[in-house]
Symmetry: C2
C-alpha cells in the first residue's frame, strides 16, 4: 500500500482505508500499488499515482468521503469515467490522495419525451444513454463526442467537450445540477422547492446568479446528477462528405464561405475539418516504410505519397443535415452549390437504420466515391460517421490514437489507449472563425511541428459560427524519453503561442491545467476567493484549472 | 440633503458628497431631496430613496466610487438605465446609499460584422444600438425587449430580460465581460492575455470555471462593458398574426402543437401570447363605462363586451419568420397548416423598409384583417410589431401601462411611467412548456385575480421549446392605498404559489428579490460564502436577489 501522499504516515493511510471501505465496501476501494498504477495511466507524458481509487455508488457516499477528506486533509480528485484520453485520463495533478471514480453512478433517472431532456448520473456513458433512448424513447437523440462510447456524458460536458450534432455544445446542454460541495452538503442548482421541481431541467438560468458554470472545468464541487437536453429526432436526416480539392490559396475563402453557411443555418451540425494527416491516422497505420533512417517525421514528399496511396485530400469533413424534408432538400442544394466551389461534395444519405434502402444508398455512394479514386479503406468509416452525426457513439474514430504506437488498431470493443500505453496529447485553442485568424494561426503552428520533428495534425472543430477549436494532436512514443520530451516541448510551445495570440484552449490537460489561469491574475484571485469560501481545506482537486489554495500565484 | 442612510451623520454625508463630486463632477451627483425623490420613483408599490444618485462615465470612476463606498461602509446600487419598470426601476431594496446610474457610459466600443457581435457599455440603449447598426452595419440585427427604446441592452441582459427574435435570450447572448469588483479591481472574464483579445467575444466558456453567470441577477460586481452577439440579417423576413378562435377546451392541444413547431425550428422567434386583457391594454384605455359602481374589476360579461368593441380574441400573438427565401416559404406553409386548426393566421409580410411594396403589402394585410372584423385601433400596432420582430425597439407597446391610470396613452417619445406614477408590477414564473403544466397553472392563478379583484392579465412568453414565462401583470392605482395593498397581496400570492409549484420567476422585483433564494437554503449559503469572499464589507447592492451579509437567513 502506498502512503497517502508524500510525507503522510502509513498509520493514517490505514485508518483512512478502513473508513473508505466502510463507506463503499472493500471491493470498491483500490489501494495496491499495482491497482492504482493501472488506474492512473495516461496518454500524456505525465501522470500521478493516487493512494486510493474509490468507486462510490451514491451522492451520500460521496458526501461521506468528502467529509472524511476534510478531516484527514486528504485531496479528492473526482472523475466520471476518466476517459478524457489525451487530457490526463484519471490522473490528478498531484501525487497521492483519493481518486474518486464515478462509473458506478450510472442511473438514468428520468427521460422526458415532451420536453426532450434526460436526468442522469455521471457514470452514464454515451453508449448506455444511446442504447436506452433507442429502446425506450426513439424520438430523442443524444449527442456524442467523437471519442469512445464508454465516455461519461456528464464528465465530457463538465470538461466542455464537444459533439457534432446541433446539440454539440455539451456543457451548454446541461440544465439543473446536483452537486456535492466540498463541505459535504448537497446543492441543487436552480431555485425551486425542496426536491426535484418541474422547471429544474427546462430553464437554465433560475432566479438569482447562475452558478452552474462554477462546476465546469473546476474544483468547486462534485456533480452527481444533471439534466441534459436531448434533440428531437428530425423528420429528415442526411449526410455528406466534403473533400477540399481547391488550391491552398483559396482555403481562406473556403473558411469564410463555410462560416456563412453555419450562420445561415444551412449547416446545423458542427463538423470536424480534418487535415490530411488527421484523416490518414483514422484510415491507416503510420507508414514507417516512408520514414528514412534518422528522420523522425514524414517529409513533404512522403506525405504526398501516403496521401495518394489512400486517396486522401488536404482537408476532409463529414456533415449531418437535419430538418423537415423540405428544409433538408433546400439546404442540400445550397451547401452543394457553395462548397462545390472548393471541392467534392458527396451526399450519401442518412441510412441510420439497417434497411435495404439504407444499404443500397450506402452501396451506391461508396461506388460513386470509389469512382472518384477513393480507397476501400477510406470508405470503411462512412457508416460510423453517418451514425455519429445522429449522436450514436462509436469507437471507430478514436482508434486513430493507435496508428503509430501499435502495429494495428484494436477491435472496437477493446479500445483503452491509456491502458495500452498510446502516447498522445490534445490541445485545442479557440480561434475566431475568420479566414485571417485561422490561416495565420495554422501558418504559425505548423513550423512548430517541424521544429520539434512531429507530423502536423489538426482538426478544425466548428464550435459555433463565431469560433473554431483548432485541435492539435501530438503523437509520440511513451517509451522513448527523447520523443516524450519533444512532445512536451511542442505542447508547451503551442500552449504559450495560443495564449499570446488570445486563443485560449477550450480545455486543458491535467498537466497544463495548473497554469490555465496565469494569463488572468484578477480572475485567478477571484476564483481563489471563491475556493477559500467553498473549500477552505483545499481538499477538492487542488490545482485543477489553476485553483489551489496552497499555491495561489 | 438627506443623511447617508438612517443613523449616519450629516457630516459624513457631506464628506462623501465632496469626494463623489471630485470623482465625477458636481453636475453628475444628485443629492437634493427633490432630485433623489424623482430618481427613486417606481411603478411597484414600494421604493426607497437614496442619499445620492451618481452618474459616472468610466470604469475607473466606478472603481474609485466603489473604493470610497468600502471606506465609508456605504452601499452602492448600480443600475444601467434603470428602465426596468414594473420590477423596481432605479430603487434599491434599502433606503439611503448611492444609486449608481450608468447611463453616461454609452460607448459602442466595437462592432464586428464578420463574427456578428458588438462590444458595448451599459448605458447603450436599444434605440442607440439599433440606430448605429442601421447606419453603419445594416447586415446586423440586434434584439430588443418589448419595453422602451431607452432601456439598456446590457442592463436588460443582466436581469435576464427577453426579446422576440431568434436572439431573444439576452443573457445568453452576452459574451466576454468587464466587471468592477466590489474591491474596486477590474475583472475581465475569459482567459486571454492582458487587454481585449480575439476570442473574448466569440467563445463564452473560456478556460476554467465559467463565471459570467455570477454577474447576472446578482450583487457580485458592476458590469461596465460586455460583448453581445448580434444576428446576421436573414435573406428573408416575414411576419404573421395569430388569433386563437377555437374553443377553450382545445387550448392545451394548441400549446402542444405550438411547442412542436418551435422544437422543429419552423418558428424561430419567441412570441408573446397575449390573453384578451393583455391585448386590450395595448390597443385601448380602460373601459370605465363597463365598471358599475362598487366593482373593482370587469365582470365576465363586461370583458366580452369590451372584446367585441375592439375585435380582440382570447389569445393573440405576432410572430417573425426568418431564413433563406426557400425556408421561409416552407415554414409559412407548415405554420399556417398547423396553427389554422386553432384560429386565424394572417401573413402580413416583413415590410421593414418604408418602400412602396412594403406599404402596399401592409395595406392589403390591413384590408384583409378589417374584413375579418378587426378594428382600426387593433391594427395600429402592426407596423411596430413587424419592426420589433426585427429587433427594432419601439415605445408603442409599453405605453399599455398607462391604460388604466391615465386618460390617454402618452406620445411615443414621452413614455416614462415611473415618473408619471403608473402603478404596475410584473411577475413571470417559468413553467415547463406543456399543456398540462400551463393550463393547470393558469387555472390556479386566475382565481387569485378574482380574489384580489383585479383583471386577469397574462402573456405567455416563449422562453424556449422547453419553457414558457407566464408573465402576469398587475395594474393598480398608486394613489389608492387599498388598491396598492391588494396589488401587493396578489403579487405575493402568485409569488408563493409559483415557488410551491416549482415555477421560479425569471426575474424578481426589487421588493421581492430579497426573498428570491429562500426556497434553496444551500444555494443561498453558497452565494453568501461567495459574497463574503468578493464583498466582505457588503457594499454592493446588499439584498439584491437575497444576498446580504447582514441578514443571511
Amino acid at each position: 500500500m502506498n502512503t497517502l501522499a508524500p510525507g503522510i504516515s502509513e498509520t493514517k493511510t490505514k485508518v483512512l482505508r478502513t473508513q473508505l471501505e466502510s463507506i463503499v465496501g472493500a471491493e470498491h476501494v483500490l489501494h495496491s500499488a499495482a491497482d492504482v498504477e493501472v488506474v492512473s495511466r495516461t496518454n500524456i507524458p505525465r501522470r500521478n499515482i493516487p493512494s486510493f481509487a474509490v468507486y462510490p455508488e451514491t451522492a451520500e457516499e460521496i458526501a461521506e468521503i468528502t467529509k472524511l477528506a476534510n478531516e484527514h486533509s486528504v485531496p479528492i480528485w473526482p472523475v466520471s469515467q476518466g476517459k478524457n484520453w489525451g487530457y490526463g485520463s484519471k490522473s490528478a495533478c498531484y501525487p497521492g490522495g483519493i481518486t474518486l471514480v464515478l462509473s458506478r453512478m450510472n442511473k438514468i433517472v428520468e427521460v422526458n419525451e415532451e420536453l426532450c431532456y434526460a436526468v442522469i448520473e455521471p457514470g452514464v456513458s454515451y453508449g448506455q444513454l444511446n442504447d436506452y433512448l433507442k429502446e425506450h424513447h426513439p424520438s430523442l437523440w443524444a449527442d456524442s463526442s467523437g471519442s469512445t462510447a464508454d465516455a461519461s456524458v456528464i464528465g465530457n460536458a463538465l470538461d466542455r467537450g464537444r459533439g457534432v450534432t446541433p446539440y454539440a455544445d455539451h456543457f451548454g446542454a446541461l440544465c439543473g445540477m446536483e452537486v456535492v460541495l466540498p463541505n459535504g452538503e448537497l446543492l441543487r442548482t436552480g431555485t425551486g422547492p425542496d426536491g426535484d421541481y418541474p422547471a429544474w431541467n427546462v430553464y437554465k438560468w433560475g432566479t438569482g446568479p447562475y452558478v452552474d458554470g462554477l462546476f465546469s472545468q473546476s474544483n468547486f464541487g462534485t456533480v452527481v446528477k444533471s439534466g441534459i437536453w436531448l434533440m428531437p429526432a428530425p423528420e429528415k436526416y442526411d449526410f455528406f462528405v466534403f473533400e477540399y480539392t481547391a488550391d491552398e490559396s483559396r482555403f481562406g475563402e473556403f473558411l469564410d464561405t463555410f462560416r456563412k453557411l453555419i450562420f445561415q443555418g444551412v449547416i446545423r451540425s458542427y463538423p470536424h475539418l480534418a487535415n490530411d494527416f488527421a484523416m490518414l491516422c483514422i484510415v491507416d497505420q503510420y507508414p514507417n516504410d516512408l520514414l528514412p533512417e534518422g528522420r523522425r517525421h514524414l517529409s513533404h514528399e512522403a506525405m504526398q505519397t501516403w496521401k495518394k496511396r489512400l486517396g486522401v485530400s488536404d482537408w476532409t469533413f463529414g456533415c449531418g443535415m437535419y430538418g423537415t424534408k423540405g428544409e433538408v432538400k433546400l439546404h442540400r442544394k445550397i451547401a452543394k452549390k457553395e462548397l462545390s466551389r472548393f471541392g467534392e461534395v458527396v451526399f450519401v444519405g442518412g441510412c441510420e437504420k439497417d434497411t435495404l434502402k439504407g444499404r443500397m444508398m450506402l452501396k451506391a455512394a461508396r461506388a460513386a466515391l470509389r469512382m472518384k479514386g477513393k480507397t476501400v479503406k477510406l470508405l470503411e468509416g462512412l457508416p460510423y460517421a453517418i451514425r455519429l452525426f445522429q449522436g450514436i457513439p462509436t469507437d471507430y474514430f478514436v482508434r486513430q490514437v493507435y496508428f503509430k504506437s501499435h502495429a494495428e488498431k484494436p477491435s472496437m470493443g477493446d479500445v483503452e489507449p491509456a491502458r495500452d500505453g498510446c502516447g498522445f496529447v490534445w490541445i485545442g485553442p479557440v480561434v475566431p472563425f475568420t479566414a485571417s485568424h485561422l490561416t495565420k494561426f495554422l501558418d504559425e503552428v505548423k513550423p512548430l511541428y517541424e521544429t520539434f520533428e512531429f507530423d502536423f495534425f489538426v482538426e478544425l472543430i466548428i464550435e459555433s459560427p463565431r469560433s473554431v477549436i483548432a485541435l492539435f494532436g501530438l503523437f509520440y512514443d511513451k517509451q522513448n524519453e527523447d520523443e516524450s520530451a519533444r512532445a512536451e516541448g511542442l505542447y508547451e510551445a503551442i500552449r504559450v503561442l495560443s495564449h499570446e495570440r488570445g486563443y485560449p484552449p477550450y480545455r486543458a490537460s491535467v498537466a497544463s491545467s495548473t497554469k490555465a489561469l496565469d494569463c488572468n491574475p484578477v480572475l485567478k484571485d477571484t476564483l481563489h476567493g471563491i475556493k477559500q469560501a467553498l473549500d477552505p481545506n483545499n481538499i477538492l482537486a487542488p490545482g485543477r484549472y489553476g485553483v489551489d489554495l496552497t499555491n495561489q500565484k
